[in-house]
Assembly symmetry: D2
């Protein structure tokens, strides 16, 4: 029933991120006036039973058991890479080579080297109008996007302080089993790559500054865990044998940013009671703001220009038509959820493709975040000494 | 790609509620394991241009310009009534007569008389296995559903106090024009029917008690407003002529409930700064709880059995697998939005249809809410005297 | 060590209010630049052991076992009446007759009739420059005083809504014994006189409006309680015999104010988890504010003149030099306690005495509050009908 | 009017801390049942006009213009050192030598060397039953003392994370003049000594662990400021000449604690909007807690033993009789202020003196805090490398 051109989307992976991205592709047409009609063409996964079930449940009209087949299909113009990080480089580079636009989940790759290859591939593809983007979805939370606007408009003046934490608690139980995310060879790193990456990207996005150096430490509180006996369910079932945890449970670092700000960062999976506590506070010459992912529809804002006596942090409900993305949704005061950040990501990407512009964050942005995390790791391994994060590649 | 039986849904209306319900029908298959594959068969509206555009944008596969045609279609098994309240009785009764299950937005009707007719039609249809439900969607917010569980499980003991407000502020500007919601002949009432209805239903649902009597007052702060010159946009454009506001801007009442609780209720569109402030507090013998729609992923809970010295209101993030509806969504700490209440409503309704059970809230529940509001109006008109709300029909 | 004239203070009563007022008289000289050096001359109580101990502990330099002796002492210029409400009229009238300034704790009296007598005595004394004041101390919480300033300066525009609760929970346990506060003959009323009186006074103070009519209900949830076997401690010890509770556990009412606002009020001792939850919200044409006694150093303020997109309730920490009373205390951000309201009360009273002006709230203000409460009681007794509160004395 | 023995107190200094300590000495008798009757004997300061005015205002019965005279007075048993940090060692050591108990404001001294001398003097005096204590008053905030109890009772299990900030904003304006606190020769350091010292002590107190190593950075955002033309008022008046700021505006560090916890610390005077934002969060194996000085009557507590689905951070109002110090004050729900921490400090000190036990924090505790801060400074000066903080003196 539509006269718009169609953009076929193919997705690789059907786990947590696959479900979230599917919800985005399913809803983006209805929320926004898109230049294309998005067609959920195909989903790829190795297990036919599972990928077939995922296709049916999430609304993809076909499936593939080999991502290479998906990447080559003529009815697919955009490949959405939701597989584990170790697989990103191979899929994304192949997709770009096949002339498909690529959305790649974060982290861009498990290693800086792979990320560099991906950047090269993306830059080459861009010459031919093929677009690529890394999935730091929290940039698309309206309150975060609005925070960036406020900073870039100068409402806070020069930023002095950045204070960022990403606090989770899903492995505080020492009997939680040794799932793949706790093994270096599969996950690359622990809290550092999984969640510190988000606060590194988000603080750089909101401030418009980049991290220039870090001094950090990492810790693994629980050194051994039960092996996974079965993989059903989120955590699987523990066995009586134990194996070594080879990633960090927590990573902490102090940093300096390119615009003169100083910063503290902390990412952990041991913050009991904090389910998904990404919290950022910025203090500037003229104001401050606070963002908290567990209350993502809110932004706290302090402006020192307010009259003496009436100064205070305002709790802004970021649901007004004036706020980024929100005119697509409901009347003021009707909140949105975590998943909407993916819908906004899809909207921005499709819009950029139609406009022929490069969407952000680019693969180069993804690489830069990897380099910051790499510097934290090197600092932690070398007595917390200062490591500059500028790229000397 | 599915082997499930199909349930064709037809929707009447495409404004605010139409958009919200469309989002629900679009996402319910992917979030839940439904007994039916939901088919968004058709949407009906009088203006062909608009209904066609709505069908395309919201993802309905066909449209009708006469709701009577929609009600008769063989590929439709469920009619979702999202038209204005004055139209509910006619559509719902016709749909039930045609053997279609019916979901009817609140308020059930603009008058108690119409609501009574609808209840009769629903009860007759139920004899034939045709189901009906009224759309008090806030019952399906996980925190509210969980609150009810806690109360019915006796965690709070006997409920002593109910404190409920629904605060909005969209007409505080006296130049806001005289839209249909401010005219008695079209809207039935003002804040009373539109939003007090939600807190009446929700507090009754959560406490398991019904309101037995009320004493109230209503107020219209701005008696005249600019006529609407054009209806584009949410508020249209004001003309230089003015007309009389014939509904209440605010309604306040005190009440008694069937289980011995006493209560205050307030609904207003003049609470500057409160965009969508539905807030309920219950105090029981053994505990208390607070729910706030602007933070709908949270529930505050106080239990007096907690150890002395460590008693306090807990801020529960209602995003755990233990919480109603939430296992369908994301890991703990990843919040959902306002619209998800409609997805949950669709899930409950489709599940009840498959199970052959009567879904709640029934049309009779909708009528009972109308009777409470009617009692408030009568009290307000007669010097705030006490009016019992029990049905003597 | 001082050259200021001395103002001798004599206090009647040494229980909870006596302790709080003693703290005020002890600290007021050090915090403020007073026109007088306050001399804590004497405290009166019937039990010599207890009053002697109280004098020593609280810092009074002498004591009396008969308040009549205290009232007559030449070294006393001001009598502070902290005895139970049934005793207020007799002491205050005698003190005024003896030419002493009087501070009388709230409620002014247990009955409207006594309150009227006190007003007459105060007005007669005022002819001779003798001052009187009733102790609604919450007017002197800086955030409340600042709220009044904001309203009177027009920052909120016309006030549309008042929403006031005073929630406590100290008698939720049905085995809590039948202390004097639960007997009508001693306490006059229950939650109504004890705590509803505070929110009536405070909302009238902050809005500058008076209540013109009410419709209310009262409830006694626990009708019988154990008799008090011994009076040691706050609650004494329960006996196995039971007696009837003759006051209200809770009182709720809706009201209209002289400036056009509508209001809900609620006072209860059964709000489990709310220890001292006095909370007031005002919504005006141009802004709103919220005050909460459990966070008395804060004021939430919403101003609709803030730029679109950045509107929100500000959490003002009311500890700035710009805020009432606060320049006497600590640097910004260093909070004060509940007891400071009494110090501020003492400051205002002493300042008014020196200036020869009438301090507020006057005994007439105290009477007006009694009349409002009396109207609530009469409404509750007569089916919640509307009762105007205007004085026809 | 008392039969208790008298303890004469002499205070050195009458500025901010002098005022706060005076309030404590004035109120401690009335709040607590002390073993001594405290006599505010004398206050010392160099300017006779000022010290005389301070004596009169704050309630000291005499004054001295030379602290040496005060230290020698027979009617003084305890010397309270509230002068600037550079003067602490001299006064405290002289007082201890004269056999007076000593309360010394923090920081113990401006240098580690002076602090070491003071520890020696204190240890020698202790042999003779002369007591000494350093004034980290925040240990005496009831919520903080209660937090320590919870941790030591094992309610949180092993502590994994410490997150501590002390955020102020009083010098964000670059035209704020170059007061003594911004000069290294007078203040020793900036935010580090002034406020980081508080969070170092408080986190060690609450966790029962000590910091074993740090990696830090410091920053001076505004390098030059107007010279002070006149010293009237808190900030004086700026001149047109400028001078160099020689202390840190902000200090940030990561740390490890003796019990295995990892930590971030941050102290700054550039956190716009944060007036006195000392905030501590601890995450343990079994629970977490949060303390915020701007809401010092509250403690947030999370216990993972709570039933699934009802877990959440509890907001405890720390005003119950079960809470440390609070039985001295008002009924539950009636909050206290910042100054009460000093009253509690005085109570604990006087009680220890009477009991013949050593009060905490000792001078050795004060020295240990200095050593941590010294390690931070050395790390900041040497590229943020790791510096162990164990004493090798």
């Amino acid at each position: 029933m539509t006269s718009k051109p169609t953009l076929g989307v193919g997705m690789v992976g059907y786990a947590f991120m696959g479900q979230a991205h599917s919800q985005a592709w399913r809803t983006v047409n209805a929320a926004f006036d898109l230049p294309y009609a998005v067609d959920m063409a195909a989903i790829a996964g190795r297990s036919e039973d599972k990928v077939k079930a995922a296709a049916e449940k999430f609304g993809w009209r076909s499936y593939e058991t080999d991502w290479r087949a998906l990447v080559e299909r003529d009815d697919i113009g955009l490949v959405d890479v939701c597989s584990p990080g170790g697989n990103h480089a191979e899929v994304a580079i192949a997709a770009l080579a096949a002339g498909k636009h690529v959305l790649c989940e974060k982290p861009l790759a498990n290693t800086v080297e792979e990320a560099r290859e991906m950047v090269k591939a993306a830059e080459a593809a861009a010459q031919n109008g093929v677009r690529s983007m890394v999935g730091f979805n929290y940039r698309r939370v309206p309150a975060a996007a609005f925070a960036r606007q406020l900073v870039l408009d100068g409402k806070l003046g020069a930023i002095r302080h950045v204070r960022a934490v990403y606090l989770q608690d899903w492995i505080t139980d020492p009997e939680f089993p040794l799932v793949w995310r706790l093994k270096k060879e599969e996950a690359g790193s622990g809290a550092l790559g999984d969640i510190a990456s988000h606060i590194v990207d988000l603080t750089q996005f909101v401030t418009g500054q980049t991290i220039t150096g870090v001094s950090g430490l990492t810790e693994t509180f629980v050194k051994e865990r039960p092996l996974v006996a079965s993989t059903e369910g989120l955590r699987g079932t523990g066995s009586s044998e134990r194996g070594e945890v080879t990633v960090d449970d927590a990573a902490l670092f102090i940093a300096r940013l390119s615009g003169g700000a100083v910063a503290t960062y902390e990412a952990t999976r041991f913050a009991t009671g904090r389910r998904n506590g990404l919290r950022i506070e910025l203090n500037g010459e003229k104001g401050s703001l606070v963002f908290d992912l567990e209350r993502l529809n809110e932004l706290e804002l302090y402006l020192s220009d307010d009259d003496a006596g009436t100064q205070g942090f305002r709790r802004i409900l970021v649901t007004e038509p004036e706020h980024p993305y929100m005119s697509a949704w409901w009347p003021a005061g009707h909140i949105i959820g975590w998943e909407h950040s993916f819908t906004h990501e899809a909207y921005d990407l499709v819009t950029a493709i139609a406009a022929g512009t490069d969407p952000a964050p680019t693969f180069a942005d993804g690489l830069q975040v990897q380099q910051v995390l790499d510097a934290v790791e090197r600092s932690a391994e070398s007595g917390s000494g200062w490591i500059p994060t500028t790229d000397n590649s």
